[in-house]
Symmetry: C2
Subunit: 157 residues, 2 copies
DNA sequence: CGCAACTTGTTAACGTGTCAACCAGATGGG
DNA sequence: CCCATCTGGTTGACACGTTAACAAGTTGCG
């Protein structure tokens, strides 16, 4: 259709900076966790949710919290179960259901990993931003997620 | 080693917002490109670099621009070559080398994809942030990347 | 109740990313 | 020149994510 509105100087700088940060950060976080704690970032997130929850979680509930495809979760849990980090149990109120519990070994790993993970986050992000920048970051993230949700449900009007 | 400095309220809000934005954004960008243009985000980035370059690029040069593992690039190029998007050519100045050229079909796809891609970026990020927020985003991204680089080369002092 | 529609979870097949091993060509000190 | 070492690139094995298909259980409307 009409002409394209390409990004101007400032817009391009912001976008490229965001993309570069995003890739670098994801790579860094995952690498640190793997090398020092023997956990992928995915493993970490699963264990974090399980250890924060008061009771073992239903599989679909865990998937909702993580925003993961159900098949992804199922396969990942199979691998984690094989490594002894989680345990699948039958659900008593729904015969289809699986209940996921963290094992002692999983608890040990996440508790060892968490302080290092927080230290990494401080080291590369949090401790080097001003309070105003932290506020701005939260605000930007919220706006973007709002837009993403608007895209996914493209209005009913 | 002493006690852990957990994230306070503001820090946690910023970090979680960033992570959520990051995952949502990556998923959205990739999905849009795939469904509407038949390109993954990875494909897009490869073609973007190739089409911006004046001459066909050496493989290692492309890898450096993308920050990709050499094996990842090699495998991805094999798939893209099979789809007719790029062409591998022998390098005349280094018998080991490969030179990567974009094909007519690749050019066509990236040129169709670019305007839609920019529109998506505007739709979910750029057009909904204030100039101040764009500046803040660029500044934050730069700071974080600086810290990441400092981590990778942990000083020679 | 009886059956269709939906939900929960697993599996198979495929595309993709990483690591380690490898091959071949380039490079540099003896 | 010769060999050790480095560099550019490919390959194989494996971990991971997505899609589609499926099995099994639940729900609700007739």
């Amino acid at each position: 259709m009409t002409e394209v509105r390409w990004l101007d100087e400032r817009e391009q700088r912001a976008w490229r900076s965001l993309m570069a940060m995003q890739e670098g950060l994801a790579e860094f976080i995952d690498r640190q966790l793997r090398h020092r704690c023997g956990l992928s970032h995915a493993d970490y997130q699963v264990l974090a949710h399980l250890s924060e929850a008061a009771d073992p979680l239903r599989s679909f509930e865990l998937g909702r919290l993580l925003h993961w495809e159900k098949s992804r979760l199922s396969q990942h849990l199979t691998r984690m179960e094989k490594r002894g980090l989680v345990r699948r149990e039958r659900c008593h109120t729904d015969q289809r259901g699986a209940v996921i519990a963290i094992t002692a070994e999983g608890t040990e790993l996440i508790e060892a990993a968490a302080p290092r993970h927080v230290a990494d986050i401080r080291e590369v992000v949090v401790d080097h931003l001003t309070p105003a920048e932290l506020e701005a970051l939260a605000a930007i993230g919220d706006k973007v997620r709002e837009r993403l949700e608007a895209q996914d449900q493209p209005s009913a009007g």
